[in-house]
């Protein structure tokens, strides 16, 4: 693996409301992000699920549907992109979600074998 790649990248993981995905993707696109990966997840947090009655019996929906957006970026972009995501995903209501940032050691583009930031 190429050396320059090491430690130069970060993984930004954002847990957002499902209907904000288009906004976030648009905002990231405009900021030059060329790739990202999206997963449907369920969240448990301050935004509670709700209780419903089905055939007379109560049941609680503990988890709220969320979308996880993962994007691996060059170290330098992290701060601005975290801000971009935060701004585009914000509705101001509880449950807007979180953004996490962690280190990414290496990236490889499968098709070409390119590595590091060039692979993003």
């Amino acid at each position: 693996m190429n050396q320059e790649g090491d430690g130069d990248m970060k993984l930004i993981t954002a847990i957002i409301k499902p209907h904000m995905l288009d906004e976030v993707r648009n905002a990231l696109s405009k900021s030059g992000v060329q790739g990202l990966t999206v997963t449907e997840v369920r969240g448990f947090g301050r935004q509670k699920g709700h209780t419903e009655i089905y055939r007379g019996a109560e049941y609680s929906v503990d988890f709220v549907p969320k979308i996880k957006v993962e994007v691996v970026v060059d170290d330098e972009q992290v701060e601005s992109l975290v801000a971009t995501i935060g701004d585009s995903a914000r509705t101001g209501e509880i449950g807007d979600g979180k953004i996490f940032v962690s280190d990414m050691g290496e990236a490889v583009r499968i098709r070409t074998g390119e590595a590091g930031v060039a692979a993003l």
Binding site: E52, I53, Y54, R55, G56, A57, E58, Y59
Partner: protein, 438 residues
């Protein structure tokens, strides 16, 4: 319904009257129904037959829609098997147990021998006074037969072993249902006592419902259903499927009740269409009122049950109550079914589809309603019939289930129940390629 030979003659008296009124051709009317009348009667009975047939698809859809996705293949397998087993066993023994002609043990039991035999006149106008042929008689009755076992299927869903269920079904549909049926439709003791059950609120639905109750008691609830003293709602996985099921059942009921007139008599069949439809509609409104009131929000599954409740409720008296009474019977059935579903759940009897509430509770209500709303029938006699069927069906079902349990066990293992009977019993998924949660 059913040619409890005595009562069918009475029934057709009205037809005969009609003939007399239609003066110009009274000449040949005296000689019995014309071949035209025979043909139209028989055609209607065959239409009713295929309508009752489609109820089995209705049950399959309703039951699978109201349960979890991981048990769907199993439920579909059961329902496809039940109608098949029902038809075959009814041909071999059921029909001749239910309509024995002569009873051998009091008016309780008779058997006319194995297999089908139309005899010389079976397919002529002589067989049933021009109302239908022997073949029609058999096939119409046969379509009814499997219904009782299918009702049980819904209540014991999501945890019963396939083989054990099929064993129970075969015995219940081959022996218990027809013997019980012979008491009334076969001209047995309850018929002679004046008990009335037009199309089977008791003979079909309660008999099925009692079987369901026995099964539920012996099986116990699904894993986690009543854990830690709390009642856990286990939602059905496919509401369009459940709705298709209910509409198909309602459709089939036009044959179930309409065919139980046992001829194409214009007045009676059309009256039965009206009482049946309005009772079903009123059942929906009753259940809507109850569920919107009791729960905070209107529950689709409750109004689906409500329409069936109305249908089961009207089945005993569809030809002898007024249109207004039919609406009342249906509406009350809609209220009752919601209360019953909740009550049975609180009693920790786990009935995933509400089969006991729909078929047993409302079957009883409908049978008693005949005693209330029809001047010609006695409430007490109705009550005796309800009780007699209850004792016999519940005991029989309990014994059969108990025997099967002793011999082979009733419940699948915990791991199998958790990962679903589809993989466990059949090695298949119902929705391959779909991402399921849980």
């Amino acid at each position: 319904m059913k040619p409890s030979y005595g009562s069918s003659v009475v029934r057709h008296a009205s037809l005969a009257l009609l003939f007399l009124l239609l003066a110009p051709y009274a000449a040949y009317a005296q000689d019995g129904p014309s071949s035209e009348m025979f043909t139209v009667n028989n055609t209607w009975m065959l239409v009713a037959t295929f309508l009752v047939f489609i109820m089995h698809l209705g049950f399959a859809c309703l039951e699978s829609g109201m349960t979890q996705a991981k048990n769907t293949v199993n439920i579909l397998f059961k329902n496809t098997s039940v109608i098949s087993i029902g038809l075959i066993t009814y041909a071999f023994v059921g029909f001749n147990l239910m309509y024995p002609g002569d009873f051998s043990i009091g008016q309780f039991f008779g058997f006319a021998g194995v297999g089908l035999d139309p005899g010389a006149e079976g397919n002529t106008v002589a067989y049933a006074d021009g109302a239908y042929t022997y073949w029609t008689d058999f096939i119409f009755q046969a379509m009814f037969a499997a219904t009782a076992a299918t009702i049980v299927s819904g209540a014991v869903a999501e945890r019963i072993k396939l083989g054990s269920f099929l064993a129970f079904t075969t015995l219940y549909v081959a022996l218990i249902y027809p013997i019980a049926g012979s008491w009334k439709w076969g001209g047995g003791w309850l018929d002679q006592m004046g008990f009335y059950d037009f199309a089977g609120s008791t003979l079909v639905h309660s008999v099925g419902g009692w079987g369901a109750l026995a099964g539920v008691i012996l099986l116990g609830p699904r894993l986690g259903k009543y854990a830690n003293g709390r009642i856990k709602a286990i939602a059905g996985h496919n509401m369009p499927l459940a709705t298709i099921g209910v509409f198909l059942l309602w459709l089939g009921w036009f044959g179930f009740n309409g065919g139980s007139v046992l001829s194409a008599d214009p007045e009676l069949v059309s009256l039965v269409f009206v009482t049946t439809s309005l009772a079903a509609a009123a059942g929906v409104l009753g259940a809507m009122a109850a569920s919107w009131g009791i729960q905070r929000k209107p529950d689709l599954t409750m109004i689906l049950n409500g329409s069936l409740a109305g249908l089961v409720g009207i089945t005993a008296g569809a030809d002898v109550v007024s249109v207004n009474a039919a609406m009342l019977i249906g509406f009350v059935a809609g209220l009752i079914v919601v209360a019953s579903v909740i009550f049975i759940d609180r009693a920790h009897l786990d009935d995933p589809v509400g089969a006991i509430s729909v078929h047993l509770t409302c079957g009883i209500w409908g049978t008693l309603a005949v005693g209330i709303f029809s001047a010609d029938h006695s409430f007490v006699t109705q009550l005796i019939g309800v009780a007699a069927y209850g004792v016999f069906s519940f005991a029989a079902a309990f014994i059969i289930f108990y025997g099967v349990k002793a011999a082979a066990g009733l419940r699948v293992g915990e791991n199998e129940e958790r990962s679903g009977l589809d993989v466990g019993e059949h090695g298949m998924e119902a929705y391959s390629g779909f991402r399921l949660v849980d």
